[in-house]
């Protein structure tokens, strides 16, 4: 075992606890925003990344006219899902992937101190890093292959949430709740 969270200096354990708490706070507010403005289904993800389904363009430009009442303009006020086009997805990938890597790395360092078997350690570290890969693979495949791949993005998100939750619970338990002999108390 590279190190043991339970035997760390109290200040180091407090630092890790604050880090995990800060991640959790960010996730809580994210959840609030989702509850207010968005859904959680692959269909909604597909709308965000794939955009509206395209109908084959006609041979010549076609024009249709119809009368409409003033009240019909209200339909356009419907709050829209943020459409992520290719340029924006390039930028999102560039900006988010490094940050996801840093978060996965920090959580992996915590995993190393959990006292797990090498097999479980490999498993958790793989989960932490594969979740963002799954997430962004889903976005790109949704845009360029099929909207059905939106399920990968949703799965990636849940995998990331699952990974964080497991690591946070095990770390807090290891650092503060396990009855170990400590000399630094």
């Amino acid at each position: 075992m590279p190190y043991d969270l339970a035997r760390l200096d109290r200040r180091a354990r407090w630092l890790i606890t604050c880090l995990l708490g800060t991640f959790g706070l960010a996730y809580l507010f994210g959840g609030w925003m989702v509850a207010l403005y968005a859904g959680f289904t692959p269909q909604r993800v597909a709308r965000t990344y794939a955009g509206p389904s395209l109908v084959a363009a006609p041979e010549t430009t076609m024009v249709m006219e119809h009368t409409m009442p003033m009240s019909a303009f209200d339909a356009g006020d419907t709050v829209e899902v943020h459409l992520v086009d290719t340029k924006l997805l390039v930028q999102d990938t560039h900006v988010h992937v490094p940050m996801y890597g840093v978060i996965a790395a920090l959580l992996s360092v915590v995993v190393l101190g959990l006292g797990l078997s090498p097999r479980w350690g490999f498993g958790f570290i793989t989960l932490l890093f594969s979740a963002p890969w799954l997430d962004f693979a889903g976005m790109w495949l949704t845009k360029f292959a099929s909207p059905r791949f939106a399920v990968l993005t949703v799965a990636g998100g849940f995998a990331m949430g699952l990974g964080y939750t497991i690591v946070a619970v095990l770390a807090v338990r290891r650092m503060w709740l396990m009855p170990l002999e400590r000399t630094d108390r």
Partner: protein, 193 residues
Amino acid sequence: MNKLVLGVVLALLHITPTVVLVKREDAVRTILPAATGFTAREVRLSGADAHRLHEALDWGPDDGRLTFYTGRRGAATVGSLTFVRVDTPHGPLEVAVGFGTNGAVLRVEVTKATVETKAWVLEAVRSGVLDRYAGVKGGPGADVTAAPKGPALPGGAATYRGKVGQMAAYMLEQIDKGVLRAVVSWGWFYRAG
């Protein structure tokens, strides 16, 4: 636990909620106050037309359709307008651009922004920039070479440098992008249609 997972999903969706700054109905009343009836003209672009629009503006409507609204009072046409969406890294922006019967821009309204961009957009609008679009002419027909290459705003957005904050200036450029799209597509597919 559930909230944590929901939060992660949000982070992955990168959603920036849209906010309505001016209801479309209110924008229509402001731009074409004399109109009592409306006709929607839906233009479904051919592949060739969609391509030349994309070549000119690096843009095309999401679903290949442009919609223009003609305002009438009795049998007389009083003007027309269209709504154009601009996708920015901070979320979508929507402008309503109205045209007089002479083909000149009557008025521009910003109808939608996002939670993130609202303050910047409002600062840009308060600068009075929208008033300066009045009189800008639409493209003269279906000639692709006649499409304006520069900004729709007379003098360009650079004239506002230093007068508004950096992000407001950025949103001002996005507004201008929307107006330019409206002006060009109106000239090509409404007046020439």
